[in-house]
């Protein structure tokens, strides 16, 4: 069974600071997605990375897919209170594209 481990599980920082969230596995994925989930809502897709070594930027968020397609990171620059939420990574299995989900990183940005 493929597993995706996210770290840290919980992060609370001040507005304006930078942070990085990690998503790691021993298995190779065909692609990896990052979602953000706010309380009382379903996850919302932020980005899909497909190619090993790929870097995608979404305003202050930078996503990177590892060269071996086993891990990914999400870096937020100058975090804002609006970034608060649960960040989930999900890897697509090579064989059938089924998504394997991490447990999430709960991020709180204090004003």
């Amino acid at each position: 069974t493929q597993l995706l481990e996210q770290s840290p599980q919980f992060l609370s920082i001040q507005e304006g600071e930078n942070l990085t969230v990690y998503c790691n596995s021993s298995s190779v994925f065909s692609s990896l997605q990052w979602y953000r989930q706010e309380p009382g809502e379903g996850p919302v897709l932020l980005v899909t990375v497909v190619t090993g070594g790929e870097v995608k930027k979404l305003k202050r968020l930078t996503f990177q897919f590892g060269d071996a397609r086993k891990d990914s990171s999400l870096h937020i620059t100058a975090a804002q209170p609006g970034d608060t939420g649960l960040y989930l990574c999900a890897g697509a299995e090579v064989s059938n594209y089924q998504l394997i989900w991490g447990a999430g990183t709960k991020l709180i940005i204090k004003p």
């Binding site: 065909s30 692609s31 997605q33 979602y35 009382g40 809502e41 379903g42 996850p43 919302v44 897709l45 899909t48 497909v50 989930l88 999900a90 890897g91 697509a92 299995e93 059938n96 594209y97 089924q98 998504l99 989900w101 991490g102 447990a103 999430g104 709960k106």
Partner: protein
Amino acid sequence: EAGVAQSPRYKIIEKRQSVAFWCNPISGHATLYWYQQILGQGPKLLIQFQNNGVVDDSQLPKDRFSAERLKGVDSTLKIQPAKLEDSAVYLCASSLDLGAGVGSGYTFGSGTRLTVV
């Protein structure tokens, strides 16, 4: 484009009672998923439909959970009888096709928060 609709938003029931959740996916989305999300955890896939056929129900507790997607559009998920450990958010998601992990991803509804007391 309208999103994925789910109802009810909240439900409180006693253990051993039954409950049903409803989902209306995005128009044209062939694939529909039901997930269970326990507080503090990532979503766990319960069942996946492609049109009105089941693709994966390997993690569905079939002794108490059932789901159907008549006519390949709306879907219902039922729990009978409910247990305390079923307390969770039940999320419905849809995607254009099975390969959503590569492309456009899943669109989730807001979920139903179930509390079993």
